[in-house]
Symmetry: C2
Subunit: 117 residues, 2 copies
Amino acid sequence: MDAAILDAIASPRRREILRLVWNEEQTAGAIHRAMPDVTFGAVSLQLRSLVQSGLLEARAEQRNRFYKARREALGPVAEMLERMWDDALWKLKLAAELEQTRRGPAPRKRRGRKRKS
Amino acid sequence: MDAAILDAIASPRRREILRLVWNEEQTAGAIHRAMPDVTFGAVSLQLRSLVQSGLLEARAEQRNRFYKARREALGPVAEMLERMWDDALWKLKLAAELEQTRRGPAPRKRRGRKRKS
DNA sequence: CCATTGATTGAGTTTAAACTAAAATATCAG
DNA sequence: CTGATATTTTAGTTTAAACTCAATCAATGG
């Protein structure tokens, strides 16, 4: 309802999530798998922030947590997003943007040992 | 054109500016006078960023610089903004938000001296 | 119970955004 | 030229966003 919405959709990452769960619910894991350039933790944090600002709803089922967009909460913004996603131009721009927008902590120091695997 | 638009409108400050110059051009000074809680410099920087992302156009006339929104550049976003501004609910939210969103450097230390060059 | 899988949480790091204050630039007036 | 007015620019500061890594929690299956 408030303008936290605009903040939410300003982030390419959150927009990507929003799109993934726009038409059908997805588990946190599935969402993470769709964006392998960040950790599961990072995704979880964004999911939390989206839920907190009312843009997603979460449903727990067994080990999984399903997330889904609350389109009603987006008001005029929902329409705008859909139009953006339908627009081929925007699509290209977005791809380029995600590539470039990676700021965060910058991959540096190696510290944690034992990544195991 | 790109999604810098979403970034631009995510900021309450930039949204405020955008609205001020939506229907008629305004000088930088007038814009600043409309938001006395920040310095002229801060306003000027935002104006610059808005021009750079193509959302405003600037015109110089004598000592003054007139700014005006480039609505065409906003695409689907323009419509959304207008609807937001027409919506009484949003109006209230925004007021509250501007009050609260003041982050920036927090007024503190005194330092800078002698710019010299 | 123990290991595994799915997800959240917490602590710490890096970076960029949004400011401020002061200096610089530009235009005009006398 | 000097000074005033309008605006931009530069440099420095604070804060929050977006991450990472590791620890933890929860449910399930042997």
